[in-house]
C-alpha cells in the first residue's frame, strides 16, 4: 500500500489513473443510485455489454473506440427504452439479445482488425493505468453534464423513478425523462469502461449505491454516499493492486463486492437485533 502512495508522487500515469477513478465515481454514484432504486441493473448490464459492438466497429475503421462506445451505448439505451414503452412484456428478451449480439459484433470486427488483440482485453477489463489527460477532460465533461441534468430535473427524475403512472398523471413527460435517464446510464457506462472495463461496469454502477441504500434514506444522500464510496473503492483498489501488479479494475470490483457483502451481513444482523428487542418489549 505505502509503495503505491510513494509511487503516486513520482509517476504521472498513476496520478491520471487516480483522477480517472475519482471522476468516474461521481457519475457512478449519481446514476448508479437511479439504477438501484429503479431496479434496472439488468438493463444497464445490457447497455454496457452491447457497447463492445460500437467499439469493435470504430476500432476496425480506425476511429476512436470510446466514440464508438458512446454512440453504441446511447443507441442501445434508446432502443431498449423504446421497446419497453411500446411492448412492455418483451423487455428482458430484447435486453438479453442486445447484450449478446452487441458483443458478437464487437468480437467479429476486432478479430478482423489487423494488429494485436491486446486491446480487446483492455476494453473488457479496463485500462485505468492508460488513462490520458484527454480522457480525463472527457470524463470531467460527462460528469458535468450528468450533474447539471440531475440538478435541474431532480424532482422529475424522482417522480419517474418512484411511480411512472402517477408522474404521467401529473403531466410530466414520462417517456422523455425515462429515455433521458437511460441515456445518462449509457454515458456513465462509457465513463466507467475506462476504469473497470465493460464486463465489470455493472458492479461499479450498482454496488456503491446499493451499499449506500443500507445507511441513508433519501435519494440525494444516497448519491452523495455512493460517490464517496466509489472514490474510496477506486483508491483502495488501485493501491492494493499496485504492489503485487494485479489488474486494477478487477481489484477495485473485488474491494466493492467484499464491502457490499460485509455491509449486507452487518445490516441484516442489526435489523434482527432491533426486531428481537421490539419483540421482547412487546412480550413484557
Amino acid at each position: 500500500m505505502m509503495e503505491f502512495f510513494n509511487a503516486l508522487w513520482g509517476h504521472a500515469f498513476l496520478q491520471y489513473a487516480l483522477a480517472g477513478g475519482l471522476l468516474a465515481s461521481i457519475g457512478c454514484g449519481i446514476v448508479g443510485s437511479y439504477v438501484v432504486v429503479k431496479r434496472i441493473g439488468f438493463l444497464a448490464g445490457g447497455i454496457s455489454h452491447s457497447v463492445l459492438g460500437g467499439m469493435g466497429i470504430a476500432f476496425f475503421f480506425g476511429l476512436s473506440p470510446l466514440g464508438g462506445a458512446l454512440v453504441a451505448a446511447v443507441a442501445s439505451a434508446l432502443l431498449i427504452g423504446w421497446v419497453r414503452i411500446t411492448w412492455r412484456e418483451q423487455e428482458d428478451t430484447l435486453i438479453g439479445t442486445l447484450w449478446a449480439v452487441g458483443m458478437a459484433i464487437g468480437i467479429l470486427f476486432i478479430s478482423k482488425t489487423p494488429g494485436y488483440g491486446v486491446n480487446l482485453m483492455s476494453y473488457l477489463f479496463g485500462n485505468i493505468l492508460m488513462v490520458s489527460p484527454g480522457d480525463l477532460w472527457m470524463m470531467a465533461g460527462i460528469d458535468l453534464i450528468i450533474l447539471l441534468t440531475v440538478y435541474f430535473c431532480y424532482q422529475q427524475f424522482l417522480a419517474v423513478s418512484f411511480d411512472e403512472e402517477f408522474a404521467r398523471l401529473r403531466g410530466i413527460p414520462v417517456t422523455f425523462f425515462y429515455l433521458l435517464l437511460l441515456c445518462m446510464v449509457a454515458v456513465t457506462v462509457v465513463l466507467l469502461i475506462q476504469v473497470v472495463g465493460l464486463i465489470l461496469v455493472i458492479a461499479l454502477l450498482t454496488l456503491p449505491a446499493a451499499i449506500a441504500a443500507h445507511y441513508v434514506h433519501s435519494l440525494g444522500k444516497m448519491m452523495l454516499l455512493a460517490t464517496l464510496l466509489g472514490m474510496l473503492f477506486t483508491l483502495v483498489g488501485l493501491a492494493l493492486s499496485y504492489g503485487p501488479d494485479l489488474p486494477a479494475g478487477a481489484t477495485i470490483i473485488l474491494v466493492a463486492g467484499v464491502t457490499y457483502l460485509i455491509s449486507l451481513f452487518a445490516t441484516t444482523l442489526q435489523k434482527r437485533k432491533v426486531m428481537r428487542r421490539q419483540l421482547l418489549q412487546a412480550m413484557k
Partner: protein
C-alpha cells in the same frame, strides 16, 4: 348542472372479449358516486379511461370538458395497488409533495406554497405526524392515507379512488369513507369498490358495472339489484351509518 365527466358509448377490450360495452355515464359536479361490480367487471378499466391512461376502442370520454389526458392534472388519483417499491428511499412528505408536480413549475425544487399545501392535506388525512417517516415503515392503513394525501395535494376538482380500502381493516375503512364524505362537499368523488353494501351508506349514486352499466340512486338498492349484478344470491346486511 354541467357534467364534469361524460362517457358516450364507451367500448373497450384488452385484445379479447369486450370488457366494457357501450357505457354511457354523466357525473355532475360535487357528486359522490360509487362504481361497483364483480371482479373483472371493468371498474378499474373505466377509471383508467377517465384518467386518460387507457384509450377507448370506440366512444368518447370527456373530463372537465376536455380530453382526459389533458384534464388529468386537475384529477387526484388513488391507485388500488401502489406501483412503487415500498423500499424506495423516500419520506412521507416527499411522497405527498409529488402531488404538487404539474401544479407548480416544471423545473427546480418545490416552493413554500407547495409545502404548505402538503402540510394541510397531511393534517386532513391525519398523516402529519408521519411526515419524516420512510414509506417502508408504514402500515397498510397509513400508506393508504399517504396515497390520499398525495392525491389531495394536487388540489383536484375530481378525486378518483380505485378500491381505496381493499387491503385494510373495517375500522380504517369507515374512517376513510367518513373523510371522503367530508371532502365530497368541495369536490367530485368517484370511488371504485366491490362492496356495494358498504359504500351505499356514503355515496349518492351507485353505477353498477359488469361489462354494461346500470345506475341506481342508493336508496333503491335491494337484493334484486345486487343479484342481477353479480348473477348470484347475495347476503344482505343492514348497514346504518351515522
Amino acid at each position: 348542472m354541467t357534467a364534469v365527466v361524460s362517457l358516450e358509448d364507451v367500448t373497450f377490450s384488452y385484445s379479447g372479449p369486450k370488457v366494457l360495452d357501450r357505457i354511457n355515464l354523466e357525473i355532475s359536479e360535487h357528486e359522490f358516486i360509487g362504481l361497483v361490480g364483480p371482479n373483472a367487471g371493468g371498474k378499474s378499466t373505466l377509471l383508467k379511461m377517465m384518467l386518460g391512461l387507457l384509450k377507448p376502442l370506440a366512444g368518447k370520454v370527456r373530463v372537465l370538458g376536455d380530453k382526459p389526458e389533458r384534464s388529468c392534472t386537475q384529477v387526484g388519483y388513488v391507485p388500488q395497488y401502489p406501483l412503487f417499491s415500498r423500499e424506495f428511499p423516500i419520506t412521507v412528505e416527499q411522497t405527498v409533495l409529488m402531488g404538487r408536480l404539474g401544479v407548480s413549475g416544471m423545473f427546480g425544487g418545490y416552493r413554500r406554497s407547495d409545502r404548505e399545501v402538503a402540510r394541510r392535506v397531511m393534517l386532513e388525512t391525519e398523516v402529519a405526524d408521519l411526515s419524516s417517516r420512510q414509506l417502508c415503515t408504514l402500515s397498510g392503513g397509513q400508506l393508504q392515507r399517504v396515497l390520499m394525501a398525495r392525491a389531495l395535494a394536487c388540489e383536484p376538482r375530481i378525486l378518483m379512488l380505485d378500491e381505496p380500502t381493499a387491503n385494510i381493516d373495517m375500522r380504517i375503512e369507515t374512517e376513510i369513507f367518513d373523510l371522503l364524505k367530508k371532502l365530497s362537499s368541495r369536490m367530485t368523488i368517484i370511488v371504485v369498490s366491490h362492496d356495494v353494501g358498504f359504500i351505499s351508506g356514503y355515496v349518492g349514486r351507485v353505477a353498477c358495472l359488469n361489462r354494461t352499466l346500470v345506475c341506481h340512486p342508493t336508496a333503491a338498492i335491494d337484493g334484486d339489484t345486487i343479484r342481477s349484478l353479480y348473477e348470484a344470491d347475495v347476503k344482505m346486511v343492514e348497514h346504518h351509518h351515522h
